[in-house]
Amino acid sequence: MKLGVLFSGGKDSTLATWLAKKNGYKIECLISIISENKESYMFHTPSISKTKIQAMAMGIPLVVIKTKGKKETELKDLKKAILIAKRKYKIQGIVTGAVESVYQASRIQKICNEFNLECFNPLWQKNQFELLDDLLKNKFEVVIMGVFAYPFDKSWLGRKIDRKFIEEMKILNEKYKINPAGEGGEFESFVLYVPELFKRKLKVKNWEDFGEKNSWRGEVEAE
């Protein structure tokens, strides 16, 4: 079955892509929504314009749509993107990296149903520590691109998701109820390399940090 992936460039949508490929599905295209609203209800925002570089490294075509990111217009824009992918790449289904968000998942289910597409959410309800362990086990190279909750600060930007990171998440989870995989929007990530999915490794060329106190985002120039 030919599939398109709703792709943000972060760990979840990349892990979902990897799982689909590993299970024998053909990834025809990635679909990215660039939201002008940094507080988007539906989409992960930092560095999403860098999905183009990731798509090139994977050798998979990318469909990009810009949205102003207002609550209901962003759904219209998402529909538009999915329809373009269906027409251009003849996809028969959509893959998402939804883990916990019923808001996100049920809206995508409705769009897929309207367009007669299968909808796959291979990370659905996944334990967040298991999700982080899966990244390590399968040698995903992932860096933190944004932090949006206490007690995170600027020093977390650019950190790799490694064993030490997971151990610290265990402590932050116990102490501050931080979701270990950032499912509550506590942090966002960017994938630099995945064996068997990326044809080459991305490198961070330049970092720019924006923010204050416990809310920081990085803009990365990858190559």
Partner: protein, 165 residues
């Protein structure tokens, strides 16, 4: 030992519809094994003590063309729980009629009679294209249960309670 029955035709759906149920059983240290419905024989399929028939996606309805594969349920004396597509299977085996009823997302329902430890108003997660049985259903005399909604998403305690029967 509980046998989880996978009704998904698409391999990738396993992670969305079967694995979350496996995870609830693992967390509760309950022994289980998982098999695809097409791999089960028509008699009482295994030495399992209980069966859970998991759901599948809105479009993945191949199992409805193979309902005879589930005829063992009719004479099964052991506890069975059907989730969503699994609920359709149980309903059809006991003579119910299938009709279109599309429901996607969260909804509040009222469970009038106690059902696997829950009663009263509950928020449930639906993902169904059809309906055979009501929201919750129990066989009159046998320990056979069904939920139209997905208790592995909201109301995990229903699955835990079923495991304790």
């Amino acid at each position: 030992m509980i046998l989880l029955i996978n009704i998904c035709k698409e391999k990738l759906h396993f992670y969305e519809f079967v694995k979350p149920v496996e995870d609830i059983l693992s967390k509760n240290k309950i022994e289980f094994s998982t098999r695809h419905y097409k791999d089960l024989t028509n008699q009482n399929p295994t030495k399992a003590d209980k069966f859970i028939i998991c759901g599948t996606s809105l479009k993945d309805n191949d199992f409805l063309e193979n309902i005879e594969k589930f005829s063992w349920i009719k004479n099964c004396k052991k506890p069975v729980l059907g989730i969503c597509g699994g609920s359709h299977v149980i309903g059809l085996i006991f003579g119910g009629k299938i009709r279109r009823k599309k429901e996607i997302g969260l909804k509040e329902i009222n469970i009038e009679k106690e059902f696997l430890g829950v009663k009263g108003k509950k928020q449930v997660y639906h993902l169904n294209q059809f309906r055979v049985l009501p929201e919750v259903w129990k066989h009159k005399t046998k320990p056979i249960y069904a939920t139209l909604f997905h208790p592995e998403v909201r109301n995990k305690e229903i699955i835990e309670d079923f495991c304790r029967i």
